[in-house]
């Protein structure tokens, strides 16, 4: 995997803020490749990163969400085979299910 380069930086993920989301369902129509709706009309979002082409559609979905609940974020980089320096830990304290 020699994914290092400009293309890597462009890979993105779409995210929903579940508190803001009102279940309008618009997003699923605009980005069916990554968003489908559950039976109550709330989005189920795939964790598959998007390339630049799909990201353009994601941008549109983000702009269209009436609740301002959708956002895009850079996808975590795939682990390089020979890290130049020790990778910084990505894990964070979580308040998981008790």
């Amino acid at each position: 995997m020699s994914l290092i380069g400009a293309a890597v930086g462009h890979r993105t993920l779409v995210r929903v803020d579940p508190i803001r989301c009102d279940g309008h369902g618009l997003c699923a129509g605009l980005l069916p490749e990554r968003i489908r709706l559950d039976e109550w009309g709330y989005p189920i979002i795939s964790s598959e990163p998007m390339d630049a082409d799909l990201d353009a559609h994601a941008r549109r979905a983000v702009a269209a969400c009436p609740a301002l609940a959708l956002s895009r974020q850079p996808a975590p980089l795939p682990a390089p085979r020979t890290p130049a320096r020790p990778p910084t830990p990505r894990s964070r304290p979580t308040g998981g299910p008790r």
């Binding site: 109550w40 009309g41 709330y42 008790r98």
Partner: protein, 445 residues
């Protein structure tokens, strides 16, 4: 007790009764004088107390006792590195209905808990710490009296004791932070997480009461002492609240790695008369009795039998009781306890609770099983907090552990156990949900 006792001069508790060494047999709270005679003063006046103690807690391998089991030292290090002065928020809400260990510590060993609050604050460089308990427990007044006793100790940390009105979900860390900030006790969308931005926008260390009590002992006796007993990966002792079909229900302290069978024996549980054990609380799992008996008491041990240790709740289910009926009641409670903020939670949990209830009553339609399986897959991981994840785990474990009962109820209707008195406690309806806009009730200092 006039001369200041030498720092750390008292002998460390030996054996597995470490936290419980601060709990008197007669049920009376330990006074400050007695506490100091037993444990000595906190070694807080050492230079560089901060980084030293963070290192020590990290070395000790202490993990959070509030449910998630995250390494405490790592969390402390992140908070200690914040640019602005951080805040400590100690979680004493103990929202888990079948748990009593935090209340026991606060009630009977208030000075060990307060030592822990002070130690955690000094370690991360905080000068203010909040200790939040649940409203209606009277623990706030009790802890305030203990604080008054400590006035002469000249501690460099301001401790604010407060009673929150939040329900089950109101004791989740971001909900507590919101509440301390003057908003409703509802979970907030993360990031930022409290350790990044919490109380007053400052990095906030949210830790459980039992966790800080361990920190109070680590500060005195060190990481090596802490790790002397228990499993290598998660050493020390844990508090378990054992209830249900137990002759001597109560809080048991066990070294990690102890077989659950031993803990059950101490609490007077007859395994021959139990069908299953609820491990971890209402976000936990039902474990069939045979697997439960050989389960090592630890996060990893619980995982090995498909459960999680959670906050250390252990409930023994009498073989005559109906695990499905118990699960249905708890699911209904969890469904109405959600904060109602995130679609999949307020729609999904009631749907799941309804299906489990129908299965328990033997009234489930044929497609209920398929619906339920789908909801259990689709609901977790999509809320702002992990409430739905925990609830789903609990329901799913019931379907596996009580699979034979599910089949039996489908053909023969509910079993006789469905009419027995309930085993699992359900808090009063009025106190289950967060009440937005409720004014904060601060304990006086």
């Amino acid at each position: 007790m006039t001369a200041a006792p030498l720092v750390g001069s008292r002998t460390a508790p030996s054996g597995t009764q470490r936290l419980l060494a601060a709990v008197r047999d007669d049920g009376q709270p330990m006074s400050l004088a007695e506490h100091l005679a037993r444990f000595g003063r906190l070694p807080t006046n050492r230079r560089g107390a901060g980084s030293w103690l963070v290192e020590e807690v990290d070395q000790a391998g202490l993990r959070g006792r509030g449910g998630a089991g995250f390494p405490t030292g790592r969390k402390m290090r992140t908070v200690a590195a914040a640019r602005r002065r951080p805040v400590v928020l100690v979680n004493g809400s103990e929202g888990e209905p079948a748990s009593q260990k935090d209340a026991l510590l606060m009630q009977q060993a208030p000075h060990l808990v307060l030592d822990g609050v002070v130690a955690a604050a000094l370690a991360v460089g905080a000068t203010r710490a909040y200790l939040v308990v649940h409203e209606g427990t009277n623990l706030d007044g009790h802890l305030d009296r203990a604080l008054t006793e400590r006035a002469g100790l000249d501690e460099r940390v301001e401790i604010v004791v407060a009673a929150s009105a939040g329900g089950y979900v109101g004791s989740e860390e971001s909900a507590l932070v919101s509440w301390v900030n003057g908003a409703a006790a509802l979970p907030a969308a993360t990031p930022p997480r409290p350790f990044e931005r919490g109380v007053d926008g400052r990095a906030t260390l949210v830790v459980n009461v039992e966790t800080v009590a361990h920190i109070a002992l680590i500060a005195r006796y060190g990481a090596a002492w802490f790790a002397e007993i228990g499993e290598e990966q998660e050493p020390g002792t844990v508090l378990l609240t054992v209830s249900g079909a137990a002759a001597h229900p109560g809080v048991v302290e066990a070294a990690t790695g102890t077989r659950l069978a031993q803990v059950l024996a101490v609490a007077g549980v007859d395994p021959d008369r139990c069908s299953a054990i609820l491990v971890g609380g209402y976000f936990g799992s039902w474990v069939p009795i045979d697997a439960a008996l050989r389960m090592p008491v630890s996060q990893a041990g619980a995982v090995s039998v498909g459960a999680g240790l959670g906050a250390g709740v252990v409930v023994a289910l009498d073989e005559r009781a109906c695990g499905l009926a118990e699960t249905a009641r708890v699911m209904a409670f969890l469904a109405r306890s959600g904060a109602g903020q995130c679609g999949p939670c307020p729609y999904g949990l009631p749907a799941i609770a309804g299906a489990v209830t129908a299965i328990a009553h033997g009234t489930a339609r044929a497609r209920a099983h398929g619906d339920l399986e789908r909801w259990l897959r689709v609901v977790p991981g999509r809320g702002a907090c992990r409430h739905p994840d925990g609830a789903v785990r609990f329901a799913a474990s019931a379907l596996t552990t009580f699979a034979a009962d599910v089949a039996h109820h489908a053909t023969h209707g509910p079993c006789s156990g469905a009419h027995l008195p309930a085993v699992l406690p359900i808090p009063d309806r009025r106190s289950t949900g967060p009440r937005p806009g409720e004014p904060a009730t601060w304990g006086s200092r």
